[in-house]
Subunit: 218 residues, 2 copies
Amino acid sequence: MKNKNLQFAVLATDVVLFTYQNGKLKVCLINVDNDYFKNMKGLPGGLILPNETAEDSVKRHMKDKAGIAIKETYIEQLYSFSKIKRDPRGRVVSVAYLALIPSEKINYKDGVEWVEVKKIPKLAYDHDEIVKIAIERLKSKIRYTNIAYGILPRSFRLTEMQNVYETILGKKLDKRNFRKKIFESGLIEETGKKESEGAYRPAMLYRFKNREVVFMDR
Amino acid sequence: MKNKNLQFAVLATDVVLFTYQNGKLKVCLINVDNDYFKNMKGLPGGLILPNETAEDSVKRHMKDKAGIAIKETYIEQLYSFSKIKRDPRGRVVSVAYLALIPSEKINYKDGVEWVEVKKIPKLAYDHDEIVKIAIERLKSKIRYTNIAYGILPRSFRLTEMQNVYETILGKKLDKRNFRKKIFESGLIEETGKKESEGAYRPAMLYRFKNREVVFMDR
DNA sequence: ACAAAAGTGTTACTCATACACCCATGC
DNA sequence: GCATGGGTGTATGAGTAACACTTTTGT
């Protein structure tokens, strides 16, 4: 660096990592316990190192702090937070990310908890605000992209998919209209296999055609 | 700061500042001339200081480098750029912003040029990428918000407004449909005044009801 | 045979699109 | 009276929303 005195801020990342489990949308939270935030929860995250991009940093922290296998996750940059007092320990500017993971890919670790979105407690730092923005982004983006691939298993029943949409959007959807729209979108295809859930009629299993973001027409 | 060796990156902001002038969408560019980028252009921007947020920083640089009166501008955060080599002089992470200004509020300064979007040359650093993302954001956001208030004068004719939309969206719109949609959106209201453009029938002048962002229904 | 989830079509309504002529004014 | 931009309505097609019953399977 040329000018030492320009270096003043710690640069960090935070991630709002969602999963869908037992019919509920959940967020990954870790324990926070320091002089300023006693026995609270917060988002996983940490510093950006000199030789990594913000995205590299998020992936590393997701792996280290939440035990997440990076390959399995959808990640997108959410927003950057730069309020001067957002971290009472010193000036920290944070680039926040939104990430999705199918629940069966989660590795559970001590100090890491998956909390239902509706039951998130008051969080440390400005993490409440970050989560709020992440939920809005997820809600709007699931409408016009295929990012649900990030939160559903590789192959899934359509009712499962509909449940994910209903939970994220926070409202019931009509089964026939949902299916029509999803089929017409061309985002998914049959796997050819069927799955029986307990004792009843087996359901066709589907998968996403693409595992990169696709925007729906318009 | 607690830990000196955590401080490695320079934090900066860049702004993609749009205006609409003579039927053209233009971007504010400044001269860049250093060891790495000879006689080129780039976006206005600069460092974030220890006592300012990213948004404070953008506003300050817009004022200093481009002579823009802050009060008149619409500003939103665009995206953060953290590629390690994006600035060859050293590690700089930049929070980019999108801003809009009505052309009559521009103060012209030496070394600052307003370049038609279609004619933007190769820019210094990663500023091409930033501009591209800004244009996409502007295109999509003008469809479902009232942010056009940031680029139109306080009061304006409807054809003027339609021209702004056509230029940003890059396509012709139907006059009657445009008017219908705008009126139904409830975003604007009559000022009660009329304006004659040259020798012909005077047009009703309108203004935006709100000068903060409003999202259209749906 | 029954319990449970899977699967399937039609109608009504709303919204977007396409399209052409008269109006008001200054010169 | 003419040139110019301002202003207006209707018809068609597309997409969204509402709605209920039959099918398949395991027990």
